[in-house]
Symmetry: C2
Subunit: 300 residues, 2 copies
């Protein structure tokens, strides 16, 4: 196996797990975050390397960027202390945030211009799969970039969809997936609470609907959280104003009318505004329950 | 096996298949419809019995009602030539239309008052499964009514969910399922067309998204129709203004705000108003494509 020097920038719930998976695969791995505690934990528990980013940047083969959005990605790459200026020619940027396809193409062009490879590589699967190294990655890149990033893709993903030979294809598919995932979670919340008003208990809802034409992957994954009244954030409400916002930004740019996505986004914004942002995204059902004056399991 | 006298009222795509399944199971079966050609076809091809409804109504054990909505169900049962007045005590009404739960409870009370059993039995699965006798039925009824209807349920359904000991429970679950099914088809149409604007082909959409968290039962069933450009109606657009209309009627009665369902309904109404009503419901994607100025597979 090729042993690489890898830095993961952003040790949130996804980035920390990815960094741990890269280190576990035997690569020399550094983890960086604004949260120094996360960095210390990564060094102490996952075998992360000591060293400041400016001191090791020139030695890196791959930089994995797992931040919140396009603005943070650009800042990490090209900001005041941007890493691109410090990296060696032929090194690779693996960019994992959900971003507009046009942004990904722009980043690729700017990286290529200074001799770096760029992989447009949005991730899917949640923090558990990040820790297990079994994410789904929707990737697009030049063939040489894919080849350079392959050991890191292997360490972090169970499934890598290769969606074209330049940046943008990965981000486009990620946006399509997020549109559906966000809508399906909100539709689950709408339906499970509507059911309560008609005498259908959440437990019966899961039992029957998960075997009917009305089911979805998200329904089967999230509706049990409502049944159990357990809103421990496996993936939080706060993801959705961001990700559906990106989808609608892309849609607006393309003059694409997306009324169902827009309706779902309103529900997530209401959830975030009323104190549910840190809860599991199944808590979207609480917005419906409050509006309808009904109680979900576990609500007093 | 108990050999019953059964009439199926309504020989549309679902009722015809159910009637054929009942006859195939060995019951003496009559089929009735306003369309005399459908009746003649049922007699000629499926072994349906000769005879006018008034002449055989008193001999029936079970009447299966497979009409469009609550108004037609009430008319068949209690209208001018309503069948309830002609049926023998202890006979059973199996009501299969999608109706409000409160309507089902009302029909049950009125049937019980004249000595008839009533099974609230909305159906799911499409015309192919109706023909195969492998529908899903979401049923609720008194135990004696379930027992009396059992041979017909066995002949027509692969799965019978028993959702309570009085009418309403079946219709409530059907409404919940239709809410989700209708939203998921429209969301599929929104996402697959959004994808086109971002360079994601419908074929790649199906390949990738059906293996990701954004998938749904309806997406996997309907999106291939878009890929193939085949809008032969397995289930038509026209179902949805009706069924989502019923969902929102029920919701309004319960003062339940259902913004995602409402947004989906607008798209189906646009589809129906622009000549797509008789097409497969995957044609909802055509509304999005026209609005966005893009072409779907098979569109010139």
């Amino acid at each position: 196996m090729t042993k690489l020097n890898v830095a993961v920038i952003g040790l949130g719930s996804m980035g920390y797990g990815m960094a741990a998976s890269v280190a576990r695969a035997g690569h020399t791995t550094w983890g960086f975050d604004l949260d120094e505690e996360a960095m210390a934990r990564f060094r102490a528990r996952e075998g992360g390397q000591e060293g400041a980013l400016p001191d090791i940047a020139a030695d890196l083969d791959v930089v994995v960027i797992v931040v919140l959005n396009a603005a943070q990605t650009e800042s990490v790459l090209f900001g005041e202390a941007g890493i691109v200026a410090q990296m060696k020619p032929g090194a690779t940027v693996l960019a994992c945030a959900t971003v507009p396809p046009s942004f990904a193409r722009d980043m690729e062009a700017r990286c290529n211009a200074v001799g770096l490879f760029y992989v447009d590589a949005p991730i899917s699967g949640g923090s558990l799969k990040a820790h297990e190294g079994s994410l789904t990655i929707m990737a697009s890149a030049r063939a040489e970039a894919f080849a350079a990033a392959r050991p890191v893709l292997d360490a972090t993903a169970e499934t890598v969809f290769e969606l074209g030979d330049c940046a943008g294809g990965g981000s486009a598919m990620k946006a399509v997936n997020q549109l559906l995932a966000g809508v399906h979670i909100a539709a689950m919340g709408e339906a499970i609470t509507f059911g309560i008003t008609q005498g259908v208990t959440p437990a019966k809802f899961v039992e029957v609907i998960s075997r009917c034409a009305g089911t979805s992957w998200m329904l089967e994954n999230r509706a049990p959280h409502v049944v159990e009244g357990d809103y421990t954030p496996r993936s939080s409400i706060n993801i959705w104003p961001k990700d559906l916002g990106i989808v609608l930004d892309i849609a607006r740019e393309a003059k694409f009318s997306a009324p169902i996505t827009a309706a779902a986004l309103q529900q997530y914004m209401t959830a975030a505004a009323t104190g549910l942002g840190q809860e599991d995204d199944a808590a979207i059902a609480k917005v419906y329950a409050r509006n309808a004056g009904v109680k979900l399991p576990g609500q007093a």
